[in-house]
Symmetry: C2
Subunit: 177 residues, 2 copies
DNA sequence: ACCTGAACACCGTTCAAGT
DNA sequence: ACCTGAACACCGTTCAAGT
């Protein structure tokens, strides 16, 4: 006799995301997720291959959320940088997860279209990809350092972010080739 | 009756580093480390508070190794970038560990003196810290993306690295304030 | 004084048995 | 057709007992 479904993949992924922000990656145990969706741990395996697949799904959802925020931003690097930083502040653990081997390989890629457009406008289509990689690498590294507390000693973090962004835009704008 | 010591903290940390590169963070189990130094797992707790402290020590050793490489490099951003990238390629897992919450807070800080000197020469002492943060953030983000395979699609990675470095040096060199 | 086996708590995962 | 208790393998950690 069929049994009604007591949870959904979506609810599981959402529980995983919530636990991730509350307790970090180690807090995302199958048991904690199961409890949160009102089921026993073995039942999760009906919807999710294993814990790694669950974390991948959480990373995928985060990538989509980031992509959607970036897509509704202005297409210039200053606005995109602010949106990117806002996401990292709102969901620091998910942001970190995106740059982990567990993340789907194309996680970043999905979010990169607006950055590519902004870069093309600044340096031309020919160097847009290199420029986007420069911008993304800087922003990602900066935010990870900020989240890790690497900027505790000296200086204002907001100022350092603005300084870096300006220098990059300057460097890209004055490109020779 | 005293028993001779059958291992040392140094051997334990070195075993941890080797296992980290061979099998990633999950491969650094207390049992695997113990086996590698010829002892049983519980004995490790004589030298190391717990697994997290062991990983911290591994991260600390990696930070020292990186600092030592950077210290014997030329004090210009191009040379430092190449050394930084070389370290990330030689010890990718240790490099990743350095930007993880487990890393000692001052891990990066220890390696930053040469970068600060190079930046001071380029933009003056007043903006050396902001410039060093720009450079370090870019290099770190770029290398993490490279290690994660985020550059699989299109373009030459070496070229993208050189392009980014040039744009940053250009942007820093043409600073206004 | 250091090392170890045994034990405990906890986790991921499987599977036969329930409904 | 989905859910669950029971079981297994594995891991981190503690501790009394060995030498």
């Amino acid at each position: 006799m069929p049994t009604p479904e007591r949870t959904t993949t979506e609810a599981i992924v959402q529980a995983g995301s919530a636990l991730l922000e509350e307790s970090g990656p180690a807090g995302v145990t199958m048991q904690a997720v199961a409890t949160r969706v009102g089921v026993r741990a073995p039942s999760l395996y009906k919807r999710v291959r294993d814990r790694e697949a669950l974390l991948q799904a959480v990373a995928g959802e985060a990538a989509d959320a980031l992509a959607s925020r970036l897509a509704s931003s202005d297409d210039d690097l200053t606005a995109l940088a602010a949106v990117y930083r806002g996401f990292a502040h709102d969901r620091p653990e998910a942001f970190r997860l995106l740059f982990t081997p567990v993340a789907p390989e194309d996680a970043l890629h999905r979010a990169s279209a607006p950055v590519l457009r902004a870069c093309a406008a600044l340096v031309g289509v020919e160097h847009a990809l290199d420029a986007a990689r420069l911008f993304t690498a800087w922003a990602t590294g900066f935010l990870q350092m900020e989240l890790a507390g690497a900027f505790r000693l000296g200086g204002d973090v907001d100022d350092a972010f603005a300084y870096g962004l300006q220098a990059i835009v300057r460097g890209l704008g004055s490109g020779t080739a």
